[in-house]
C-alpha cells in the first residue's frame, strides 16, 4: 500500500505550513523553528509555544516530521532540546500546498488584471 495522498492533508494551517518551511534542509528545535518563522515572515507571524507544540504533535502523527536524535553541535547545544526533521512525505505535502497557493495566486492575479483592464476600459469610455 502507499502513503496517503498529500492532497488529502490540504489546506495546511499557516502554522503547519511555516513550520514545514522552517525545516526545509535544516533540523531545528522548537525555539529554532520560532526564530526561523519570525525571520522568514519578517515578524508578521508570531507563533506561541502552544500553537507550535500542538502543531508539532499533529505533524508527528501525520508523519510530516520526525524527532531527530542527532544534534548539529553537541558542544553548543542543550541536551534536553528535541530536534525535528522534515520527512519525505512532509516535503511532498509542502510542495503540494505550495502548488495550491501558487494556483490561488494565479487566479487572484488574473482576476486583478481583468478588473484593472475593465476599469481602464470604463475610464476610457468617459474620456
Amino acid at each position: 500500500m502507499q502513503k496517503s495522498d498529500p492532497e488529502t492533508l490540504l489546506p495546511l494551517t499557516p502554522a503547519v505550513f511555516h513550520i514545514l518551511l522552517a525545516l526545509v534542509g535544516c533540523d531545528r528545535h522548537g525555539y529554532g523553528i520560532l526564530q526561523e518563522v519570525n525571520d522568514s515572515t519578517e515578524g508578521t507571524l508570531h507563533l506561541g509555544a502552544g500553537t507550535l507544540y500542538r502543531s508539532i504533535k499533529q505533524m508527528l502523527a501525520k508523519d510530516l516530521i520526525v524527532e531527530w536524535d542527532e544534534r548539529p553541535d553537541i558542544e553548543l547545544d542543550d541536551q534536553r532540546r528535541r530536534y525535528y526533521r522534515l520527512t519525505d512525505f512532509g516535503e511532498r505535502v509542502l510542495k503540494a500546498e505550495t502548488e495550491r497557493l501558487e494556483h490561488l495566486l494565479r487566479i487572484a492575479r488574473a482576476r486583478q488584471l481583468s478588473l484593472r483592464s475593465a476599469a481602464t476600459n470604463e475610464e476610457g469610455s468617459f474620456s
Binding site: 522548537g30 525555539y31 520560532l34 509555544a49 502552544g50
Partner: protein, 437 residues
C-alpha cells in the same frame, strides 16, 4: 543579563509552568518542558530587546496562545476518548455495538458479519476485529496496544482514515477485548481465508498471555456451509444461518491457543523462513491455517518477475481481455482458492501496477488511471479501460522484472520489511519456496 533579568524571568517561568496545568495531562507531560524552554527563550530575547517591559508585553499573546490551545487540545482529547467508549458516542466507525445483555462477547472479522450477528437472537456484545493484517507492518514483539498504533499509522498512511480515528477504533476494540473476563462466554467467529486466519491467530496469541478464569472461549471457524455451493465467507450467511452455527461452537483448546500464538509470532518475525519452516509442522489443530499462511508467502515478490501472486493474477486477467477495474477485481477473486482480499486493498495492488517508473498497466488512451477515494465508485472510475503497457507485456513473457525496472521495493509483509533496490526475499513459484537474495 542573568542577574538583572532574574527578577522577571524566574517568576515568569514559574507562572508559565503553573498555567500549563490548563492542558490535558498527557499533552503537558509530553510537551510541557519543551514549551517552558521555548517560552523562556522568548522571554530572554524580549528582555534583551526591551527589558522588563518587553517580557511583560510578551505575556499578552502568550496568554491568548495558552488558553486557545489548551481548549483546542482538551476538545481533541475529549473526541478521542468519546470514540474510545462507544456507549457514549454512537458514530459510524466504532468497532463495538452494544447489544442486550453482556453475557457473551462475539468477536468476528468484519462489519457485514457483525451486522448480521446483531440481527440474530443471540445476546451479547459484538466486537469487529477489522484489520487487514495481510497488508502492512506487523513487527515482532509488540504489545496489542503498540501493534494497534503501528497498524493505525499504516492504515492512515493508506488514506483509509485519519490516524486518530483509526487508532481510537483499535483502542476501543482492544479495551473491549481486555475486559473479556466480564463475559460468561467469548465466541470467535471466523472463516478459513488469510484475512480471517491472521485475525484469529492474533487473538489467540493475545489469549495465550491471559488467564481465562471462568470465561469459556469458543470457536466457530468454517470453510463450507450446507446449501451454499460457493462458500466464501460468513458474510454470505443470513441471521438464521449464522445463528445455526452457534450450536456448533466448541471450546478453544490449549493446543489451538499455543499453535495460534506460535503462528502469530512467526508471522510477525522479520525472518520469513521461520514461517516456511512453521508450515512443515503439524498445524492440524487449526486446519485452515496452513493454506492461509502459504497464500501469504505467495504475496512475496516472485523470483520470476518480482510480482506478488495478486499482481500476477491482475496481469493475467487484463491480458485475457477483462479491462474495467471492478471486473478485474471480480475476475482476480475467482482465481483465488479462498478469496481474502477486499476491494479497498485490491485497488492498492492495481494502482501500484499503474504507477512507478515503468508501469505494467495503463489506460487505453494513455491518461493516468484514477482510483476511488471512498466506497463510492463513479462512472469515470468504473468505465476506465485498462490495458497492458509494453513493459507489462514483457513481464507476461518473463522478460522483465518489476522491482528492477521500478527502482526497488518498499513493502511490509507481516514482520518482514522488503526495502531497497532488491527484495531480500522472493518467492520461487516453480519450487514453491522462499529464496533469500
Amino acid at each position: 543579563m542573568t542577574t538583572h533579568s532574574g527578577h522577571i524571568l524566574a517568576p515568569s517561568k514559574r507562572l508559565y509552568r503553573w498555567l500549563l496545568r490548563a492542558y490535558p495531562p498527557e499533552f503537558r507531560q509530553q510537551y510541557g518542558p519543551q514549551m517552558t524552554q521555548v517560552f523562556l527563550d522568548c522571554c530572554r530575547t524580549a528582555y534583551q530587546a526591551s527589558g522588563t517591559r518587553g517580557v511583560l508585553r510578551l505575556w499578552i499573546p502568550t496568554l491568548g496562545d495558552l488558553i486557545s490551545n489548551a481548549i483546542a487540545e482538551h476538545v481533541s482529547t475529549l473526541i478521542l476518548k468519546l470514540r474510545k467508549y462507544p456507549s457514549l458516542l454512537n458514530t459510524q466507525g466504532i468497532a463495538v455495538f452494544q447489544k442486550r445483555g453482556d453475557s457473551m462477547l462475539h468477536i468476528t472479522n468484519g462489519d457485514t458479519v457483525g451486522e448480521t450477528l446483531r440481527q440474530t437472537s443471540l445476546p451479547g456484545n459484538i466486537l469487529v476485529w477489522r484489520d487487514v493484517l495481510h497488508e502492512g507492518p506487523t513487527p515482532a514483539h509488540l504489545s496489542l496496544e503498540q501493534m494497534s498504533q503501528v497498524r493505525a499509522q499504516f492504515l492512515a498512511n493508506c488514506a483509509l482514515g485519519p490516524y486518530e480515528t483509526i487508532l481510537a477504533d483499535f483502542l476501543s476494540r482492544d479495551t473491549t477485548l481486555a475486559q473479556f473476563l466480564i463475559h460468561r462466554e467469548v465466541i470467535l467467529w471466523f472463516e478459513h481465508d488469510l484475512y480471517d486466519q491472521l485475525q484469529l491467530i492474533q487473538i489467540l496469541d493475545w489469549l495465550s498471555h491471559q488467564k481465562l478464569g471462568a470465561t469459556s472461549v469458543n470457536l466457530i471457524c468454517i470453510d463450507t456451509f450446507p446449501g451454499i455451493a460457493n462458500f466464501v465467507g460468513l458474510g454470505q450467511l443470513n441471521p438464521s444461518q449464522l445463528r445455526s452455527l452457534y450450536e456448533k461452537r466448541r471450546p478453544v483448546t490449549k493446543k489451538e491457543i499455543e499453535l495460534g500464538s506460535e503462528a502469530w509470532q512467526t508471522f510477525c518475525s522479520p525472518d520469513p523462513k521461520k514461517l516456511e519452516t512453521f508450515l512443515h509442522k503439524d498445524t492440524s489443530a487449526l486446519p485452515f491455517l496452513k493454506a492461509a499462511l502459504l497464500r501469504h508467502l505467495e504475496q512475496f515478490p516472485a523470483l520470476q518477475g518480482g510480482l506478488s501472486r495478486t499482481e500476477r493474477q491482475i496481469l493475467e486477467v487484463v491480458a485475457s481481455g477483462i479491462q474495467k477495474p471492478v471486473e478485474i477485481f471480480q475476475a482476480t477473486q475467482k482465481k483465488e482458492e479462498s478469496p481474502f482480499m477486499g476491494d479497498a486493498s485490491f485497488w492498492f495492488y492495481l494502482s501500484r501496477l499503474c504507477t512507478g517508473t515503468n508501469p505494467f498497466l495503463t489506460r487505453v488512451d494513455g491518461s493516468p488511471v484514477s482510483f476511488p477515494t471512498s466506497n463510492f465508485y463513479d462512472a469515470t472510475f468504473q468505465e476506465q479501460v485498462i490495458v497492458l503497457s509494453k513493459e507489462g507485456q514483457q513481464a507476461r513473457s518473463g522478460q522483465t522484472d518489476w522491482i528492477r525496472i521500478n527502482r526497488g521495493i518498499d513493502r511490509w509483509l507481516g514482520g518482514v520489511h522488503l526495502q531497497g533496490p532488491e527484495a531480500a526475499w522472493r518467492w520461487d513459484i516453480q519450487q514453491a519456496t522462499l529464496v533469500q537474495i
